[in-house]
């Protein structure tokens, strides 16, 4: 009897200890970013050109990339969710592949496809375009690595729509386009927003594919994560300031996502937030 009680107490202590270690490990780096440099100096550092340039590049490329993801990814997700055909599973897997691809491999793939000597390189040259090491390349890298997060969540959202509602809309005289905009889209809005928030967060933190495909040219292709990497050997405090900036933006995103998801308690989509990797 006593043995069992001791064992149970011991097990409880082990769990608490493990939880404490995990918590400290996760929280400490974030706290450290803010605690090393006083807030006033942090704000001052944010006004240095390397930071403002990187912020502009980051915001611009992320915004364009996300717009493209919504524009092209939504129809793709809808078709994959609503059509049944041979090879569908394979196609879904291919679409999700960039998600698990090491960023360096993603960058390599983009170079091999769209780079000067890549698969479409000759077409690009004929048209007088060279995308590699331009801002277009940043947009492409961001879109490539982050769109699977959106598409995947969007497929789940579209699949969650009661097909009887779609059928009802059709029998009430609405064509498939009207049905999509008046029934499917309103019902999946929250799921799509959640997927988009995930893709946005992933895109904002994009590092590996961007540096390989677009390089790290201040004011052109140098995004915040790339600027952090460039700055941290020269001026650690500037790197920290940018780090703090990204933490704040990511936290705002996470909170927004939480709010969006809590508005739809019955929905079955609960995407795990994938941390922006670098």
């Amino acid at each position: 009897m006593a043995g069992r009680r001791v064992r149970r107490a011991l097990l409880g202590a082990v769990f608490l200890g493990a939880a404490a270690v995990a918590l400290v490990f996760l929280v400490l780096p974030v706290v450290a970013i803010f605690s090393r440099v006083p807030p006033a100096r942090l704000v001052h550092l944010l006004s240095t050109p390397i930071v403002t340039d990187a912020l502009v590049v980051s915001l611009k490329t992320t915004a364009i990339a996300q717009a493209l993801i919504l524009l092209f990814g939504t129809p793709l997700a809808y078709l994959l969710a609503s059509r049944r055909f041979a090879g569908r599973t394979l196609l879904v897997t291919l679409v999700e592949l960039p998600l698990v691809l090491p960023p360096a491999v993603a960058g390599l793939g983009l170079l091999a496809a769209f780079g000067r000597f890549g698969l479409l390189g000759s077409t690009d040259r004929a048209l007088g375009i060279d995308v590699s090491f331009t801002q277009t390349a940043v947009v492409m890298a961001v879109a490539f690595v982050s769109s699977p997060l959106y598409i995947r969540t969007a497929i789940a959202a579209f699949e969650g729509v009661d097909q009887d509602l779609v059928a009802a809309s059709r029998t009430l005289g609405a064509g498939s386009t009207r049905t999509f905009f008046r029934v499917v889209l309103p019902l999946t809005r929250n799921g799509l927003a959640a997927g988009e928030a995930l893709a946005f967060a992933r895109g904002l933190g994009e590092f590996g594919a961007t540096i390989m495909f677009a390089g790290s040219l201040q004011g052109v292709t140098q995004t915040l994560p790339l600027a952090i990497y460039a700055a941290f050997s020269l001026d650690f405090d500037v790197a920290l300031a940018m780090g703090a900036l990204l933490v704040v933006v990511s936290a705002v995103l996470l909170v927004t996502l939480r709010l969006i998801l809590s508005w739809q308690p019955s929905r079955r989509i609960s995407p795990s937030l994938v941390a922006p990797s670098s």
Partner: protein
Amino acid sequence: MATLSADFSLPRRSFELRLGLEVERTVALVGPSGAGKSSVLRAIAGLLQPSAGRVALDGETWFDADGGVDLPPDERRVGLVFQDYALFPHLSVRANVAYGGKERVDELLERFRISHLAGARPGELSGGERQRVALARALARNPGALLLDEPLAALDAHTKSGVRAELQELLSDLELPTLIVTHDYEDAVALAGTVGVLVDGELRQIGAPEELISSPLDPFVASFTGANLLHGRTVGEENGLTRVQLESGELLYSTDPGSGEVGVVVYPWDVSVGRAYPDDSALNLVSGEVVSVVQVGNRVRVRIGPLTAEVTGASAERLGLARGGTVFASFKATGTRLVPLS
């Protein structure tokens, strides 16, 4: 009045649905779940594509396999009311109704007594209210034919009888060709003048409800109309009556001709129950222990061996019917029908 004609075959997972129907007033299809009832409605509405045949409303051809016609659902003037109503959860009652057509919204809200709910979301409504919204929405597009999928199945027993009466009234007012599918024979009879029995994708019999009761062509039809179906085989004739030996040994007589394996069909309300050996004109007698006694409205359903009898509450009380007692159940040879068993 318009006529909806549906004559098609539609491959389903485990059977091929074949159907030839002319709907002028109200037709109800009854059958067990999985018989293909909903598929019939979906094929007519254009949500499923038949492999052959034709669907038309008067002169308008909606589907014709030979002619290569297959109108999309939104181009068929059909009002389909789904079993779970399929109201749009993100739209108000008014917007749901207006989705089908904007001209008659106020009139329909009033007609279905849902004006006071115009601003509510479907999630806030009771089952009966949801059905009224679904009907109003279906009618808002001015359909040429109405299809109702299990219109009463989603309602609790308490609401059901009231809604059934309302629906009856509505259907007779509308004068639209209406096809109803239901698993409940009583609902079918209450709502439709013509009832078809659909089993495994096949229309076993279609006709007036009285016709299905008086001369069922098939054991399924008999059991669906609520009849007793006693399995046996014929053992010759006697005085022009067919003698049937039941699996349990009893000998029964029927005025119906038949041979081989047959089902003896007898309705519960044609079976008399007594405590003593009856001395009357009934030729058929089954004695046995009372298995169950269940009150259904003002009637009492008594189960004696393989047989169900229906008596009034007063008779049940007078006889002191209770589980375990031995009683005699009798019915006339003229009250029986024989259906071949395959």
